[in-house]
Structure formats: structure tokens, C-alpha cells
Subunit: 136 residues, 3 copies
């Protein structure tokens, strides 16, 4: 059995933003030399999430709009007294810090319309994502 | 270490629908001959999710109702200009494409009230779910 | 390859409550003697979730408030005819029963502001969480 760790670094530009990291994840899977296993895409931040869906410009704007409606900034959250980003923490809590994928025949398994995105919730910032591949 | 891949094919009948796939997942775990490990239940579609909860008819209708309220169809989404299903993509993005389970003593570990469902968000369609079991 | 199973038992005090279980999860990872792999934190209950975010008292209250607003109790849910906790099941369905983490150099990998919480959605009750560590 082998375990491989890779990292992706991203600089975000907006407060709420989707960054397509699919090709970087795929590169790490190839570099891992693992044929069959699992690939965990995990962020170390509490105001970031990882999500999977179609890379279509309109949809990406819809996702950002939905985030802002669902987790409104400055809506009287208690955490805003400490740090002005309770909405970002809430979104990350509900959506989660990671997504996990099958790896088969040396390739990341995902559907045609499934791209992998870092979901920035409190940018702009420099962000890090861990890509762990485990298998044989 | 062993890695096993199985597939479940489902034909959905409604636009938003829960299909209980627990027994199919359990069958794949038995077929894998893996005693201890992890079982990933992963959909390749961007308008489907996998969820876990109780198989009670009323609750299953509540989940469908909540999805429709939370992700309303035709609410001015930009993706609807391309394909009339932005709501389906949004729900799948937030809920995620997979759930993962422990496997112990050759059996899928889940609670008495935990069933595994394919959550159709843009049916009716023919859908596929990957069941990957990894362990020893 | 090794697979380790641990358990965490928690007694909750409120109907909706966050219990920080980070140190218990970390202890199980050390006990497992696994250097590199994955750690799955999984609840067997259908009215509990596992979430990851910052342990800040205000934020923890914000999360509880958001849960109650997003999944209101007694809002005419059909499952309430069977058991008066449809809201709890709904929240658990959407948020999910688990979170999964990398394990590297014998340590659970998580960010400075990432703590692991059992999210009680229908307490007070005695609850159980499985910690599975798999790797080498």
C-alpha cells in the first residue's frame, strides 16, 4: 500500500469565489503512481470548502449568489464581534472541508460534468489544499 | 490490501426523488471479500447526491420538500439559460456527490436508522453509483 | 496496511449542541500506531452530524442558531406524525454523518482553526461516534 501527499496553493481574488483545481488534483494522482485507491481533497482552512460540480460560468455565479443569500454577511452573528466573518465560517461548517474520489487505473474517477473547486468564503487570500492519494 | 469496485444502476421516476440503495451497497461489500476498511458510495452525476438517513415514507417526502424549497427551480439562475436545471446542480454542489462508511468484520457499518439513498435532483433518468471498497 | 477502530461516547445536554471531540479523535489516531493514512469520524445516528470549524463560543452559538432557522422544528413535516424530530433528521441528511481527515507522521492533519464537533440535533441523549484509522 502507498500513501501520497500533494499540495495545491491558490491565490483567490474575491471574497466569495470558485477556483477550479481539477487539473492540479489530477496531476497529483498521476504523480502518486497509485493505480487503485482513494483521493482526498482537503482544505486546512475554516473559511474555505471543497465542492464538486460543472464548470459553467453561469452556474459558478449562481453558486456564489446562493452562498451569499444562504449565509448573509453581518446578520447579527456573535462571531462577528471577534472576527468579521461568521458567515464564512458557517458556510464552511455546513458544506464541509473536503471531497473524496475513487482512483481507478491510475486516474481520478469523476463524471464529465464534475469539476473540483476550492470554494473561497473569506477572500482574497492565499489558500492551501491537501491532496492525499492512498491505495496500491 | 484490496480495492474493489462495484456499480449500481438506478432508473428514477420523478424530478426529485430518494431511491434506497442500502441493500445494493451491502451486497457489494460482501462481494468484495474485504473485512476491514472503507466503503465510498460515489455518484458520477452533477445533478445527483448520495445521502444517509431513515427510510420512513413521511421523512422521505419531507426531504424532497425541503430540497424544492431550498433550491427553487427557475428562480432566475444564470445556468438556466444554458440548461434548465440550475437548482439541481446547486443542491448537488452543497450536499455533495458521496458518503463514506466504515467496513468492519466484512459488513458495512451503519446505524439502525441509517439507510443510504441516491438523491435524484433532475430526473427521471438512468443513474449510476460507484461503490468502492478498500481494505484488507 | 492496518485498520484501527475506536469509539467516542458523549452525553449531550441540549436539543441542539456542539461537542468538541477533537482531542478524543487525536487520541485514537495516536493509539492506532498508523503513520500515514485516513481517519474517518462517523456517527451511527440519524439525528447527529459531524462538523469541522473553529472552537469559538460565539461561532458555536451562531451554528446552533443557523441550524434552528434552517431546519425549523414543527414546521408541518410529515415525519413529525411518527416521531417529533423531522427537523433533526433533515439537518443530519443535508450535513452528513461524517468528516474524513488525512493522517500524516502519526498525527491527524487539520488546520489551526479546525476543530471536530459532534453536532447533536435531537438531544439530550447518549451518543456514539466511530473513529476509524486506516493506513500504514
Amino acid at each position: 500500500m502507498k500513501v501520497f501527499f500533494g499540495e495545491i496553493e491558490v491565490t483567490t481574488k474575491d471574497r466569495t469565489e470558485l477556483i477550479d483545481i481539477s487539473s492540479y488534483v489530477g496531476d497529483h494522482v498521476h504523480k502518486s503512481n497509485i493505480n487503485d485507491g482513494l483521493c482526498l481533497v482537503f482544505t486546512l482552512h475554516s473559511t474555505v470548502s471543497v465542492v464538486v460540480n460543472e464548470h459553467e460560468r453561469g452556474l459558478m455565479q449562481d453558486i456564489v449568489k446562493k452562498i451569499k443569500e444562504e449565509f448573509p454577511k453581518g446578520a447579527g452573528w456573535l462571531h462577528d464581534r471577534v472576527d468579521d466573518n461568521a458567515d464564512s465560517h458557517l458556510a464552511s461548517t455546513f458544506i464541509g472541508p473536503s471531497r473524496i474520489f475513487p482512483v481507478k487505473d491510475g486516474t481520478l474517477v469523476k463524471g464529465t460534468w464534475q469539476n473540483i473547486f476550492l470554494l473561497e468564503l473569506d477572500g482574497p487570500r492565499r489558500r492551501k489544499v491537501i491532496v492525499e492519494v492512498m491505495g496500491e
